[in-house]
């Protein structure tokens, strides 16, 4: 029984590693400027975690195999080095590994969160509500008009509660149900929740950020590849959570310019 169990452990450990090594279900392609930092960090962690996983499982299996059928008269033995060796190994190996990952990981995190968006980043506002995203562009004046919660009306398609009669800044705001951005231009995304908690997740962009109702947060990123990608909600927001999504279209500058003109005409 013990030997069968040891073999099962080894087989499971190998079978678990195969999909990772073979990239059977890989991360979605990276289309962002900062994404490679996250991907490198992930790859380093996978290497270290993978070695730790396989080594520990193999050792466990080996000891179960070797020490489960003692012969009469066998004496128990102590591991050379004892507990002190184990503690030292844990501090040295895992401590160093943790410290290294921590320090290098900071770089990737800082690239996303500790650098302010550049002055020429394009501001886009995203509003999340049960169960749709709406996107707003400030128009030629470069300024978003204020949101009036009491004027928000799905029925009248006034998703942002804009008062275009009285608010000068709102008059040229462009509201769309999909998000289009030009390639290789930094986007400053301002995130506003209309009702409950939601999240903005575009796996290809290596971006995930929760909306905080009552507190507008912002992130910035640059997409490097033209294409159509899904924006999905990852924060449980109610019964339609699974279906809350929108599309992000990364376009060439010319296509983006004509798209924004087209949208402005539709307002």
């Amino acid at each position: 029984m013990a030997k069968i169990f040891a073999v099962i452990i080894v087989l499971i450990a190998i079978a678990s590693a195969i999909p990772i090594v073979m990239h059977m279900w890989p991360m979605p392609q990276d289309i962002s400027v900062h994404g490679h930092l996250i991907d490198d960090q992930y790859a380093d962690t996978m290497l270290e975690a993978g070695i730790s996983f396989l080594a520990s499982q193999f050792l466990l299996a080996f000891f179960i195999w070797k020490f489960s059928s003692p012969k009469a008269g066998d004496k128990v033995k102590s591991f050379p080095g004892g507990a002190k060796g184990m503690v030292a190994a844990a501090f040295l190996l895992v401590g160093t590994e943790a410290l290294a990952l921590g320090v290098f990981g900071t770089k990737a995190w800082a690239s996303v969160y500790f650098t302010p968006p550049s002055a020429n980043a394009i501001p886009v506002q995203v509003q999340a509500g049960q169960f749709a995203f709406y996107f707003r562009y400030p128009g030629p004046d470069g300024t978003f008009g204020p949101i009036h919660a009491d004027q928000i009306s799905e029925a009248n398609a006034n998703f942002y509660g804009l008062d275009t009669t009285n608010d000068q800044d709102s008059k040229d705001d462009i509201v769309a149900a999909e998000m289009a951005i030009p390639v290789n231009r930094e986007i400053h995304l301002l995130m506003h929740s209309k009702d409950v908690g939601h999240s903005f997740y575009v796996p290809e962009l290596r971006v995930q950020q929760d909306f905080v109702p009552g507190l507008d947060v912002s992130i910035h990123f640059t997409a490097t590849k033209i294409g159509k990608y899904e924006i999905v909600c990852t924060q449980l927001c109610g019964l339609g959570h699974y279906n809350m999504k929108a599309y992000l279209e990364v376009k060439s500058q010319e296509d983006y310019d004509s798209w924004i003109k087209q949208q402005a005409a539709l307002q």
């Binding site: 890989p26 996303v112 924060q235």
Partner: protein
């Protein structure tokens, strides 16, 4: 070390059925009651997971009879999106609170902590009785919420505000369902606080003569450390749930900010903070992970030592490592909130202790592995589950490396990677701890043995099955598969559906193994082979010195006196390969703690 046995609680054996089996103050009866509650809860939780998995794997496939559970939630026996979320929320809540907290800590701890410390009972037996019945009372509103008009809450076991705090406008079950949920958790906290007080005082004040703290078995240390965590963690969750209830019934806005708009109406709340709920919840939530797993570590160590016929490489280092886990568990909770919108500097601050906590975890695993070296390992159902625990803890532990780093968490947060991680490390591992404890202590608790063949079949099926379920979760997460979705309609998720089908089949297979366990448990309880003696596994700690099952005051006429460390196995020159703690045999063991 001091002799507190003179202060032990004296209460005569009750004579009526009610005081004996229902409102009993005997810690052993209370332990069994907790076990029974956890068993019922585990069956409900598992049934819910089957329903969820069937829906995820085969979305349009009707589940015969499901409409009987809820005609609105499953018209035509096919689950609605909201009903999936309601079942998911209840699965998480029931499993985390009523199984993983209740069974390894409250059930086994109640039964064995006083015996292992050499006490006649806990110091506050009436509090102890209350602790169980309040916990039972907590289970009632949770189950009752299935039968209210709009059903249970759909907000997930984490109940993030403001979805949880705005009432029915948030969705089905978000009104009465949340109030019942929060009431249940409040009551549960009270039960755990009463239990924790008893556990702490039993460990500190009720030890018999000769039982120094370092002579306590690792199980007792696991329960003691857990009870200290419980005392502080549940004391935060309880007021948080009270505030949540007030937001529903008293017009307060602790967790709801101003100007939220639902169905084109501005909600009347103003001034609350949604992140406040997350901070309060996770300040409880992360220690809770260790509340679920540390008793299992104690049980696994105890079971392994007995079956290895040798002590751990170091008793003290294991205890210090478990205590370090507990201390650090309060400093890492923010890693659940890396992308929550809190200050990104906080994320780095919380990331560091999260990486550091891998050090005591690694020490514990290395001590287990190092102790296996040179052992005379006995393979039985209990030791198999203990070894399985180590394998699961390693697998679930290494994925923690990814999630501890805020930058990688950007990709993996709220995906199946997280679900795979916590199911392996605190779900399956803790369950394996419970199984190891059950097979190991069953003869002491009932006087009968469990069937070993069925036990081994149960183990092999569970071990393979659990890996087949939870390893693929990691792959799904890496591919960006978001959790808490009732169907996968996104273009990039559709190719992953076959993996979900495989997981569903694996979940049904693994669940089947648990039915074998259930049969074995019930059959052995009444018809199992009688335990050959009071100490069938040749153990050394105090539970094996007393009668089977133990008498009302645990030790009969003579209170035990302890002369040895808890794990004197294979000591050179001793008359047998184990020396019980109560043995007066004089041996010079190099391991003996001074």
């Amino acid at each position: 070390m001091h002799d507190m046995s003179a202060h032990a609680v004296q209460h005569g054996a009750p004579t009526s059925f009610i005081r004996n089996h229902v409102f009993s103050t005997d810690h052993k009866v209370i332990g069994k009651q907790y076990y029974a509650l956890a068993l019922v809860a585990a069956l409900v939780g598992m049934l819910l997971s089957w329903l969820m998995r069937l829906h995820l794997g085969f979305a349009t496939f009707p589940i015969p009879g499901l409409h009987l559970l809820s005609s609105t939630g499953a018209p035509g026996d096919v689950m609605t999106p909201e009903y999936y979320l309601q079942l998911m929320t209840m699965h998480g809540t029931i499993m985390v609170f009523f199984v993983l907290t209740t069974a390894p800590f409250a059930a086994f701890g109640n039964f064995f902590l006083p015996i292992q410390t050499g006490a006649e009972d806990m110091p506050f037996p009436h509090f102890n009785m209350m602790s169980f019945w309040v916990t039972f009372a907590a289970f009632v509103p949770l189950i009752a919420s299935f039968f209210t008009g709009t059903g249970p809450t759909l907000g997930g076991w984490t109940q993030y505000a403001p979805l949880s705090a705005i009432g029915d406008v948030g969705g089905p079950g978000q009104g009465l369902g949340v109030i019942l949920w929060a009431t249940s958790i409040c009551l549960f906290c009270i039960g755990q606080l009463l239990g924790a007080l008893n556990f702490i005082t039993t460990t500190l004040d009720m030890r018999c003569k000769g039982m120094s703290l370092m002579r306590l078995p690792l199980t007792a240390w696991g329960w003691f450390i857990t009870s200290v965590m419980g005392l502080t963690a549940f004391a935060v969750l309880m007021p948080a749930c009270i505030l949540l209830i007030l937001d529903h019934v008293a017009g307060t806005s602790f967790f709801v900010p101003a100007n939220l708009v639902i169905n084109d109406h501005v909600l009347p709340h103003t001034g609350g903070s949604t992140l406040l709920w997350q901070h309060l919840f996770w300040f409880f939530g992360h220690p809770e992970v260790y509340i679920a797993i540390v008793p299992g570590m104690g049980i696994v160590s105890h079971v392994l030592i007995t079956n290895m016929r040798k002590p751990m490489l170091s008793h003290r280092v294991l205890i210090y490592s478990m205590a370090a886990l507990a201390a650090l568990s309060y400093m890492v909770y923010g890693h659940h909130m890396f992308v929550s919108g809190m200050n990104p500097v906080s994320s780095l601050v919380f990331s560091f202790p999260t990486l550091v906590i891998t050090i005591p975890s690694t020490i514990i695993v290395l001590i287990w592995l190092g102790s296996l070296y040179g052992a005379k390992l006995r393979i039985n159902s209990a030791s198999l589950f203990a070894l399985g625990f180590i394998s699961m803890f390693i697998s679930g532990g290494v994925s923690g490396f990814f999630l501890a780093q805020p930058s990688i968490d950007i990709m993996l947060h709220a995906t199946y990677f997280v679900v795979g991680h916590f199911h392996l490390v605190m779900g399956v591992a803790a369950m394996f701890g419970i199984f190891a404890g059950t097979y190991f202590w069953f003869p002491k608790m009932t006087g009968r043995m469990m069937n070993e063949t069925l036990g081994k079949v149960h183990f092999v099926m569970s071990f393979i099955g659990a890996y087949c379920i939870f390893m693929p979760f990691h792959y799904l997460g890496i591919a960006g598969n978001v959790r808490r979705y009732q169907a996968f309609t996104d273009d990039y998720l559709i190719p992953l559906i076959p993996v979900h089908k495989f997981i569903t089949i694996a979940a049904l297979f693994t669940g089947l193994a648990q039915l074998i366990f259930l049969y074995n448990l019930i059959h052995s309880r009444f018809k199992g082979e009688l335990a050959p003696n009071d100490n069938p596994w040749e153990g050394t700690s105090l539970e094996w010195s007393t009668a089977t099952p133990p008498p009302h005051n645990n030790f009969g006429d003579k209170m035990p006196v302890v002369y040895h460390d808890p794990y004197q196995y294979s000591v050179e020159g001793a008359s047998s390969d184990y020396i019980m703690q109560t043995s007066t045999e004089k041996v010079s063991s190099p391991d003996e703690e001074k």
